[in-house]
Symmetry: C2
């Protein structure tokens, strides 16, 4: 395969702020040498580009006449809005004109388009969302944060194997530790799915450290915490909620007495460091792992920083060939477990 610069397709219409935030973020990413395809309303995109310095940057503009609205149903977006920016962005990857997708648009529609337009890597049972938590030390990957509900043990194991590749390739964690998110550290603690998954994880080639608890995520004491998408999504939104409540309190404080206002300003560093613990913008978005091509889904409220970081993550995923490592990892695991069952037979 000829070595070529990876290109990331960006849903320029996505997010609460659309092209006005996405296009400047894309230009900043392009300045770092990342090749891009901006997908959406051509006039709107060119108008934003016209306001910025883009000489020498490798930015394609790919027209798409429709936009998935936040109140559209994901299934409708997939079937009826075939010329939507999300749909077209996925198609550019499918057709080999780009290697990954970043979207801050309708996340359900992005997942649906990713699944059906790109398709799954051979052997992947269920693609999963990896939430990346900055934490006190190294980032922690929480997987799945909402692509699936009611998962089976074999699904959880694949989530772990896929997150292992993400942690190594993209986050630079060597031999990441993997835990099953549960309600007690001892083996045997948990619900049916956790108990049924424990042995599968222990027998796998993952660096499995057993069960972990909710409190271990933010300390950074585990690199990958695996759970069902329902549990992961509740956890993710709870963390976001706490961060938001924190912001509300800070705002109130800043408008109160002179002394506390002064205090808040002086200790802004601590506030900021704390908020960073749960700040989705730090990694920009949640990659949907297991598809033929990486799809990074950003928060609807994403700011420029979040979009830039999401583009960086997608580009790193592509240039490190994580897609291939992921397929190899799953294949190696299959070979290993086939070997084990032969030995057992």
């Amino acid at each position: 395969m000829p070595s070529k610069q990876p290109r990331i397709a960006i849903d320029a219409m996505g997010g609460d702020y659309g092209p006005s935030v996405v296009v400047p973020a894309a230009v900043r990413a392009a300045e770092e040498g990342i090749a891009l395809a901006l997908v959406g309303d051509e006039d709107a995109i060119r108008a934003e580009l016209g306001r910025l310095k883009t000489d020498g940057l490798d930015i394609d503009v790919v027209p798409a006449s429709e936009v998935v609205e936040m109140d559209d149903k994901a299934s409708d977006a997939l079937r009826r809005k075939k010329d939507s920016s999300i749909h077209v962005a996925c198609r550019t990857v499918k057709e080999g004109r780009a290697d990954g997708v970043v979207s801050a648009g309708h996340s359900g529609a992005t997942v649906a388009c990713g699944m059906f337009v790109l398709g799954r890597i051979k052997g992947v049972l269920r693609p999963a969302f990896a939430g990346i938590m900055p934490t006190e030390k190294r980032p922690c990957v929480l997987i799945d944060v909402g692509a699936n509900v009611d998962s089976k043990p074999q699904h959880l194991l694949q989530f772990g194997l896929m997150a292992d590749v993400l942690a190594r390739d993209v986050l630079g964690t060597e031999r990441p530790t993997v835990g099953l998110l549960s309600i007690g550290e001892e083996e045997g603690k948990g619900n049916a799915i956790v108990k049924d998954s424990f042995e599968l994880f222990r027998e796998s080639e993952l660096n499995f450290i057993g069960n972990v608890e909710g409190r271990d995520i933010f300390t950074g004491d585990v690199d990958i915490a695996v759970c069902d998408g329902f549990v992961g999504n509740v956890a993710l939104k709870l963390s976001e909620g706490l961060a938001k409540s924190f912001g509300n309190i800070l705002k109130k404080e800043l408008s109160s007495s002179f002394l506390s206002k002064l205090g808040s300003l002086l200790s802004f560093g601590a506030f900021k460091r704390f908020k960073r613990l749960v700040d989705y913008a730090e990694y920009g978005g949640a990659p949907l792992l297991g598809l033929k091509g990486i799809v990074v889904v950003c928060h609807g409220k994403s700011n420029e920083k979040a979009i830039i970081n999401a583009i960086r993550m997608a580009a790193k995923f592509v240039s490190n060939k994580s897609h291939e490592h992921l397929a190899e990892g799953l294949e190696a695991h299959r070979a290993l477990s086939d070997g084990n069952s032969e030995k057992a037979a």
Copy 2:
């Protein structure tokens, strides 16, 4: 029934600090007029009491020769340590010498002793732990936070009905709103258990507002969030973890530069208000609802404030006859649903 002062049995040996924290906390609660029974090593309890002013306070001392250690198995604690402080505390309630139990000891053993010594209120399928989150506005009851895993829709509905009584009687919330903790607000979003529970909640006499998300808990926009004990326990520990990480960051900040140290001191109010959002000490502990007698389980690291608040909560539960309201609520619901099924038939 003759009206008598409710008496709360306290596991004096429980928690990381044992009698040295529990006994002074109990004395403070007794000063507010709450009758108590301190259960545990009589010498140790009397030694602590000897250091404090206890004239005129209504404090019984009930000897118990054993202590459940944190590494004991809950089932062993129940069967083999029948003279442990937790076991004896539950027995004093069973025998009518007290009306409720507060323990900061081994939570598994407390649940096991509560379940088997006290027994369930008639009609209760599964007792559940109610986590009380202070939030930005009114407290939010998260139920179940870990007494059960793999619950069924009928269990979740009962959790909601029991929490409704707690919110009204103990937290003073009129007509509390009830939500199903899920991964999207729209009906139809969620895993199998949430989807199967939705209709049951809608048809119930609860003030059901539909699905809520993790972020709604701390804003105080819902008074009761119902979930399976696995999900609730992960959520609770995640919140604790975030609060702890916050403490760590604050500690680092306080030992850094002069200006930021000054800032942290001045804005201590904001830090404190934020930490209060997830501070278990605010309500002292999680009541285990559905037993014949209230059992409040406190965090092992409980300080005096947490123990006092837990005793207050148990006393309020008893004096407001919440135990009877709970039984009536479940009974009324049964009558209502029987009526509905007759109408449907």
